[in-house]
Amino acid sequence: MTESTRASELTMGKALGAGLRRAMRDDERVLVMGEDIGRLGGVFRITDGLLDEFGSDRVVDTPLAESGIVGTAVGLAYRGYRPVVEIQFDGFVYPAFDQIVCQVAKLQYRTQGRVKMPITIRIPWAGGVGAAEHHSESPEAYFVHTAGLRVVAVSHPQDAYTMLRQAIACDDPVVFFEPKRLYHAKGPVDLDGDIADAPPMGVARVVRPGEDVTILTYGAQVTTALDAAIAAEDEGVSLEVIDLRSLSPVDYRTITASVRKTGRVVVTHEAAREGGVGAELIASVTERCFPYLEAAPLRVTGHDIPYPPAKLEKHHLPDLDRLLDAVDRVRDVPRAGAGVVA
């Protein structure tokens, strides 16, 4: 992403707020709803100031009930509104699961396209912030497996700003993951661009080109991957880091091009491994690139455990060392100790 002359330096949190404000100005059918998003501006302050600008008709503090929030958003969408729902933390989306899976995802199909569900479900997401139980979940695979939903994850302020506007403008429901760990990370944001000119939501981005190994990742883990690429470079290994941006659909064109070049793939995400997004990526990459693969694609993920207590989360999160270990293994370089995958 190139810094434009008009770009301001914003945190991801501020960029998201700016994206919401812009979307609400552009389309009066957009409204935001959730717990504590009004006067408080949300527990992460993403919606700060929106109540004052748009009033309580469009910035709706709801009762404390996630199924109710998503279910009433469905009704508002029936009525032609474009609700942007904030789920306060990743771990609180499950009470709304039925409404998301059976209603939000299926209504367009159920009505043969007559009823659209342009609902954006924003989820402050994943770990690494030392939080209490249920505040560090990575539930993205559940939504990826749910036909009818689009799922995206952002990794820096410009994408946060642009992709949130694109998600809101999209006529399909979008589950929008915001890595909490990056809320305070700053970056340049062009606030004036037209969302139609920006890369579409569904397109992956090669954030760092490389030759030896393709790293597929998304969200805050992009940062870890970039760190790994720098560390690997010191050892003379060139990593190509791809930020998926869209988890459903996945941009296999970009991925395939990379894998055909490198022949080696490591997928990394925070979510548990079993049935995670990494499984889908490896299965699809293997189906699409088998003749080009020089080694089995590997996964570096959270363990298959409930999210551990904060002081132990660093042993759960796939860190630089574990990523580099996998890079060694995918390159068939033996290393002290055995590998993670048996």
Binding site: V60, S67, G68, T72, V74, G75, L76, Q112, G148, D172
Partner: protein
């Protein structure tokens, strides 16, 4: 509303005494809460309501017959619930938006769903065929209670549009146990949303009597959320109409949500797959047959000399026409081609589904034409 420590009794509302304007014997009686909302219902109006109910019953019977003949996969009979369905739906304005469950056949008829709409879903040709925006009714909901939140959200939209429409949520007695229905009441009360909850208490949720769901009458639930409620005789089409008019007026004029419990009875099985003899007695059914919503209005109309052969013939004609179109729609239904299972998953282009669609199309094309016919 606050009980004292010594209070252990349960509600004093008698399940058998909901608001009524027409007795099972067909006698027109007075109820001070409802009278003014039924004042204009003259004999002509009552004949129209009767006709609607009678047609609904015929359509329902045709649905059952079509299922028995293998034309439909399933049917959820509405027999016995015609009064609440027709009465409440007729009370609505055409632009009030209704969110129903699978059993509200009468509501769909009032909303002028096409004969085909009533069979294609049960036949398994489509998940739904109605145009919700043309009919102002959402596709019937199967997930118990989910639609109540949609109605409340829609009503919140009405508020934002400064419109005087009303959203209506239909659901059953069993549904009241679902979290969603209770959350719907929380949201509706919190926002003062113009929504009417119509709970058709037909005494059974498949095999479970309403006593499994609630220890007190369902109408008692709503005031605890700050929502006025009324128990109405759901087998009395006059009372159902009147109660709904009150409720709609309340909601339409800014009074916020209202909850109606319509006390009625499912005379048939839960669905055509169900065998109610396993869980309820013949005696119970007899008691409710005596309270049949059609019978009582027929008695009333007969008493006032407004029920004759001509009227019967008119009903026959309307019902016959509708059911024969329904039957034709079922029998002549053309199943959509295989590839269409992949349509309408997304509103906008989607790389994943587009690729799968193309691959499936070429897979299908690989079959010889005669084989392809079976696809």
């Amino acid at each position: 509303m606050t009980y004292t420590p010594t209070t252990q009794e349960r509600s004093s509302v008698d399940l058998d005494l909901p608001a009524q304007l027409l007795t099972p014997e067909g006698e027109r009686i007075s109820d001070e809460r409802l009278d003014r909302w039924a004042a204009d219902l003259d004999t002509d109006s009552l004949r129209t309501l009767y006709r609607d109910m009678a047609v609904a019953r015929r359509v329902d019977a045709e649905g059952v017959a079509l299922q028995r003949q293998g034309q439909l996969g399933l049917w959820a009979p509405a027999q016995g619930q015609e009064a609440v369905q027709i009465g409440t739906a007729r009370a609505c304005r055409a632009d009030d938006f209704l969110f129903t469950s699978y059993r509200e056949l009468g509501v769909l008829l009032v909303r002028e769903a096409a004969p085909a709409d009533l069979v294609l879903t049960w036949r398994g040709e489509a998940l739904s065929t109605i145009d919700p925006y043309a009919l102002h009714v959402a596709p019937p909901q199967i997930i118990i209670g989910a639609q109540t939140l949609h109605a409340v959200g829609y009503a919140m939209g009405i508020q934002r549009d400064r419109s005087d429409q009303v959203a209506v949520a239909y659901f059953g007695d069993g549904a009241t146990s679902q979290g969603d229905v209770n959350e719907a009441m929380v949201f509706a009360a919190s926002f003062g949303a113009p929504v009417v909850f119509v709970c058709s208490n037909n005494h059974w949720a498949i095999s479970e009597p309403v006593s499994v769901q609630a220890a007190v009458p369902l109408a008692a639930r709503a005031p605890g959320f700050g929502i006025p409620s009324l128990r109405v005789d759901g087998n009395d089409v006059i009372a159902s109409t009147a109660a709904m008019r009150w409720a709609l007026d309340h909601a339409r004029s800014g009074g916020g949500p209202v909850f109606l419990e319509a006390v009625t009875y499912r005379m048939g099985p839960h669905t055509t797959s169900d065998d109610p003899t396993r869980y309820r007695s013949a005696e119970e059914l007899e008691i409710w047959r005596a309270r049949d919503p059609l019978l009582r209005l027929e008695r009333h109309l007969t008493a006032v000399g407004a029920f004759d052969e001509g009227f019967r013939a008119e009903i026959d004609a309307v019902a016959g026409e509708f059911t024969s179109r329904m039957r034709a729609a079922a029998i002549n239904a053309v199943t959509r081609p295989a590839i269409e299972v992949l349509d309408d998953v997304y509103a906008q282009p989607h790389a994943g589904i587009d690729e799968q669609r193309a691959a499936f199309a070429s897979y299908l094309a690989g079959f010889a034409p005669d084989e392809g016919g079976s696809r």
